[in-house]
């Protein structure tokens, strides 16, 4: 049995407290009026330099994001208040967007692990059962993480904050394209779908973990294992549809004019690789603390292979999406990437280096995949890279050119990291670290490559 050390418990609580305080400060620093924005921008010389640039696209943006008041005024607004109004809205959105990115990022780790776990059962994998308890513990975050995400989504869907422009009736009234999509993109439908998605995933998680524990107690006839197999296969079918729809709802709808048919896959690749990386990191951590002596370096090797492979899969999808849009150059599509390349150059290309080039070079060699510190180093870079990936998907439509990694972003990450560590490691203490009833557990213990 694993026992949660006081140091780790304290560490996670400290992270949560610092994150919470930081977030409150972040929300408190939001400018309340145009006057404050002007003062802030005057104080920022560097920002003043980029003024003309950001103004040029603000017209385009006004339509996409915050058409409320700027819409009529934007023509004569050169140097007028419309631009400041626009920046004001972006800065007011910023802590919300930071909170959303972090909440989604840690939730997607738990969801990715859940999908990976289900695949192990559906495929009747023989190598992985020694890691099942680690996976089950990580998916424990699905419940608190999902509830928090649901609350934020509810607030956004009913326009308490301004994250989703389609939730703003003023914008929709002037926007034919969003009106055409209103049958799908409306607060009520949004919340109902979120309940179905999150409820379905949590239900599977509940029963999968329950059956796994029952199988430990009574392995005769593998009765519980067979049930696990059945619900895992059913879950995977449910998951791939709902994950795809959730990615439209929760991420793609930030840019309601834009669409991409492989977006669900793209988000899936991102959450899958983040989840697998987290399994590897937590496994290596537990091994370093003297637990999991039945996990050998072949298991780490296999996880690292998945990290390598899914990173390349992610790049493949990223590129497939990018190249077709870049090549066809259709204005309503290409605006997505123009915004990102012009305003988010560093995170946009930095993410590619972190999510593709770095894991490609570091994890290509077979021997390196067994060296723990190589896997940890690659894993940390991959996780940071995928945080930036979510950042790039959410921020351009919510804060536009006013982005920077500030106190809100860092605090939100700390808050959810603390919560994640606390929930995951507390869940680890709930059951023995070896799923001894699993019929493949002997094969898994002797797994060697």
């Amino acid at each position: 049995m694993y026992t949660l050390s006081n140091r780790l418990r304290l560490f996670s609580i400290v992270l949560m407290v610092i994150g919470l305080i930081g977030l409150i400060v972040g929300f408190g620093q939001r400018p309340g009026s145009i006057q404050e924005v002007k003062e802030m921008m005057a104080a920022h010389d560097a920002h003043g330099g980029g003024h003309g640039d950001s103004h040029a696209i603000s017209d385009d943006h006004a339509k996409n994001t915050h058409g409320t008041e700027t819409h009529g005024a934007s023509e004569d607004a050169h140097g007028g208040d419309a631009h400041y109004e626009h920046v004001l809205h972006q800065l007011q959105n910023k802590p919300w967007a930071a909170l959303y990115v972090a909440a989604f990022f840690f939730f997607m780790i738990a969801l990715g692990v859940l999908a990976f776990y289900a695949i192990q059962f559906a495929a009747q994998a023989g190598w992985s059962p020694v890691l099942f308890r680690v996976m089950e513990a990580i998916t424990a975050y699905l419940v608190p993480g999902g509830i928090i995400l649901f609350v934020i989504l509810g607030l956004s869907g009913f326009h308490i904050n301004h994250l989703f422009v389609w939730a703003d009736p003023e914008v929709v009234a002037h926007d034919k394209l969003i009106q055409g999509k209103a049958g799908w993109l409306n607060g009520t439908g949004f919340i109902i779908r979120a309940i179905i998605f999150l409820g379905g995933w949590m239900t599977y998680r509940h029963f999968a973990v329950k059956y796994s524990r029952l199988q430990d107690e009574d392995a005769t006839g593998n009765k519980w294992y067979k049930k696990s197999f059945k619900i895992s296969a059913a879950f995977l079918v449910f998951f791939i549809y709902t994950e795809s729809m959730a990615s439209w709802d929760w991420i793609m709808s930030f840019d309601p004019h834009w669409f991409s048919t492989l977006f669900g896959w793209y988000v899936f690749a991102s959450l899958f690789v983040s989840g697998i990386t987290t399994i590897a990191l937590i496994t290596i951590y537990l091994k370093s603390k003297g637990y999991l002596d039945f996990v050998n370096n072949s298991h780490i090797h296999d996880l690292a292979k998945f990290m390598f492979g899914i990173s390349i899969f992610w790049t493949y999808l990223w590129f497939s999406q990018f190249m077709l849009i870049w090549y066809s150059n259709i204005p309503e599509e290409v605006t997505y990437f123009i915004t990102r390349i012009e305003d988010y150059k560093l995170p946009f290309f930095g993410m590619l280096a972190m999510n593709f080039i770095f894991p490609l070079l570091v994890l290509m060699n077979s021997d390196f995949k067994r060296v723990n510190w190589f896997v940890v180093m690659a894993g940390i870079v991959i996780l940071c890279g995928h945080y930036i990936d979510v950042f790039n998907m959410v921020m351009p439509a919510t804060v536009g050119t006013s982005w920077f990694i500030g106190i809100s972003e860092i605090s939100a990450v700390l808050l959810f990291l603390g919560l994640f560590l606390f929930v995951v490691f507390r869940a680890l203490t709930k059951a023995p670290l070896l799923a001894k009833g699993n019929p493949y557990i002997e094969e898994s213990k002797h797994f060697h490559y």
Partner: protein, 179 residues
């Protein structure tokens, strides 16, 4: 010089694996193992050195990438630039996304084909080559371990092999030249 080998046949890959480990721990030299399918971990159990095929694959991939870049730079940029979809091809870098699929494909193409050819050459395989297989049953359901028995106590070795679960043991005298 005549050499002497023992052919021991097995009918299960797990038994074979244990036998290989046992025979090696008794300091006999296993010359070769013939199996109907690849047995996972057998190379490590036999103590074979790590394959260097992966290194050649990396180098061939680099060659393929270079060929792709050089070729397309000449064709699309230098020799005959065209205006495709409003993207005039005067700069390789600005048109890079369009070239990436070809760069990828040629990397894979070179790595795969040259690696297969290297593998054939290294294993001395070519079309119509007569098989070196000592017993046709190893192409069906038997596993054959060839142990060097030159200057060894044959009876002791035979006993060891039958202990490991061999179903058939043959002592073969062979001339060096037909090896």
């Amino acid at each position: 010089m005549a050499s002497k080998v023992i052919h021991a046949l097995y009918i299960d890959d797990d038994i074979l694996m244990d036998a290989v480990k046992k025979v090696r721990s008794e300091h006999y030299h296993i010359e070769e193992v013939y199996t109907p399918f690849p047995v996972h971990g057998l190379d490590k159990a036999m103590g074979l050195p790590h394959t260097r095929l992966a290194i050649t694959a990396f180098m061939y991939g680099c060659v393929g990438l270079t060929v792709a870049i050089t070729m397309m730079n000449f064709i699309m940029i230098k020799d005959w630039p065209q205006d495709i979809g409003g993207k005039p091809s005067f700069s390789y870098l600005e048109n890079l996304p369009a070239f990436v699929p070809i760069m990828f494909e040629l990397t894979v193409f070179f790595a795969a084909h040259l690696m297969v050819i290297t593998f054939y050459m290294r294993s001395k395989l070519w079309p119509f080559k007569e098989a070196e297989n000592p017993d046709v049953r190893t192409t069906d359901d038997h596993f054959l371990m060839e142990v060097d028995a030159t200057n060894k106590n044959v009876d002791q070795l035979t006993e060891l092999l039958s202990d490991t679960g061999a179903v058939e043991i043959k002592v073969i005298d062979k001339e060096e030249d037909n090896h």
